[in-house]
């Protein structure tokens, strides 16, 4: 609908009036821009996805090499169960306890469950990192971003009282749980954590806690 504004053709005294500039209709341009905006809104990703780094322990292929020993008193085992359930037990299961393994304790994801449990154990380091972050925030120390990260890494490395968390997953756990528990490690600032395979005895313990009659435990036992 290109329309040009009507010009005053009135003549006065034979003199021609100065013509107003021709009016350009902007409506099609508005239509076009509208379409473009809608297109961009639908195809655009406003926030760039984030990444969480994780290092897994190298697989030991040589059977003569023993896995590194870790102090039992600091060990916390976290087992991801089905339906967003999460279990934990301290220490480790000794061979003489295989007939009567320790019971699993159930906790939950989120601030009151696993996070509280870990912060209680990781109090010293958590406080140090917290103080450090506060000093950065209040501007008492000013460091470039890289140095902040390496400083926190140094704090974590020097820590020798915090828990050593072993994360294990039961077969019906989900990937979401896995990421959530790793995230929890980052929130709490656990210095040492690793993802390891679920042993058969732990599999049996989970199934007992879930109330699954573990006929499978006999076959997994050998």
């Amino acid at each position: 609908m290109a329309e040009v504004a009507e010009q005053d053709t009135g003549k006065k005294g034979g003199r021609q009036k100065v013509k107003p500039p021709p009016h350009i209709d902007m409506t099609p341009m508005v239509d076009l821009m509208c379409l473009l905006i809608v297109f961009f809104m639908l195809t655009a990703a406003f926030t760039k996805a984030k990444i969480m780094e994780i290092n897994l322990p190298e697989k030991i292929r040589d059977p003569n090499v023993e896995p590194p020993k870790i102090p039992e008193s600091r060990t916390v085992n976290i087992i991801l169960g089905p339906d967003d359930r999460v279990f934990w037990y301290p220490g480790m299961v000794r061979e003489e306890d295989y007939s009567n393994p320790p019971p699993l304790r159930e906790t939950s994801f989120g601030a009151d469950g696993i996070r509280r449990l870990l912060v209680e154990r990781n109090r010293t380091l958590f406080k140090r990192i917290d103080d450090f972050n506060n000093e950065i925030l209040t501007g008492r120390i000013s460091l470039p971003r890289d140095s902040i990260e390496s400083e926190i890494r140094r704090l974590k490395r020097d820590d020798d009282t915090g828990p050593i968390v072993l994360i294990k997953a039961y077969k019906s756990a989900t990937y979401g749980n896995f990421v959530e528990i790793l995230d929890e490690m980052n929130i709490v600032g656990v210095a040492r954590y690793s993802f390891v395979d679920l042993s058969w005895i732990e599999n049996f313990m989970v199934e007992r806690a879930l109330g699954i009659s573990s006929t499978a435990s006999a076959s997994t036992g050998n």
Partner: protein, 212 residues
């Protein structure tokens, strides 16, 4: 009585400010956003507090969709001249005894999404142009021990681009054995460092809230 004359022409609205506004919005959108990558399956990434953004290049991504299919994606490197994708596919073809033409390699190099096609059907897949028909081929990269193509993709990607970083983009509902399988495949190739792709969430922990 004089007649009341009704204006025969509708009033003219000046669209110029509207155009100005739209142009500003458009430029804003173009500058602040990146194109969303369409994955061949539904992938609803889990949340984490990590604020590190994804890398722009030198990445290979293993995508696990919510129905358990596994896809593989790799970028062309910092420079499209390097054509990593084409080289990787050529190497894969060499391993499985499939000769890819230059045209097929170019098509693969420009394919915008993740690949979940078994290598035997890659030629058919690349020959099709219709996206809907293409989707039918995306049945997931085989990764069982009998036919472990994912391992070969990882191997050749690392040979072609040694600086590559592995990342995993999984749906939060995927059952763990599939994830474990992917991790095992990567670890068998000595990839022990991963980036898990997540969405941002916030979390605050306060020391005072936790009793001594």
């Amino acid at each position: 009585m004089p007649k009341i004359k009704i204006a025969s022409k509708p009033p003219h609205v000046d669209m110029t400010p509207m155009v100005d506004l739209f142009a500003v919005v458009l430029i804003f959108l173009m500058l602040t956003t990146t194109f969303r990558i369409t994955e061949p399956g539904v992938v609803d990434t889990p949340y984490s507090i990590s604020e590190r953004p994804v890398l722009d290049f030198n990445i290979m991504t293993v995508v696990i969709s919510n129905d358990g299919r596994v896809f593989f994606n790799v970028d062309n490197g910092p420079d499209t001249i390097l054509k990593f994708r084409q080289k990787i596919l050529a190497e894969m073809g060499g391993h499985y005894g499939i000769e890819f033409t230059q045209e097929e390699l170019t098509k693969f190099g420009n394919f915008p999404a993740s690949i979940g096609v078994p290598i035997e059907r890659m030629k058919e897949f690349l020959a099709i142009d219709n996206p809907a028909d293409k989707a039918a081929f995306q049945r997931g990269v085989p990764l069982d021990s009998a036919d472990n193509q994912l391992a070969m993709w990882v191997l050749y990607t690392r040979q072609v681009n040694p600086a590559v970083n592995a990342s995993i983009k999984g749906d939060s509902g995927v059952e763990f054995p599939i994830v474990k399988r992917v991790l095992d495949v990567l670890q068998d190739r000595n990839v022990n460092r991963f980036n898990l792709i997540t969405s941002l969430r916030s979390a605050d922990v306060k020391l005072e809230e936790i009793p001594e």
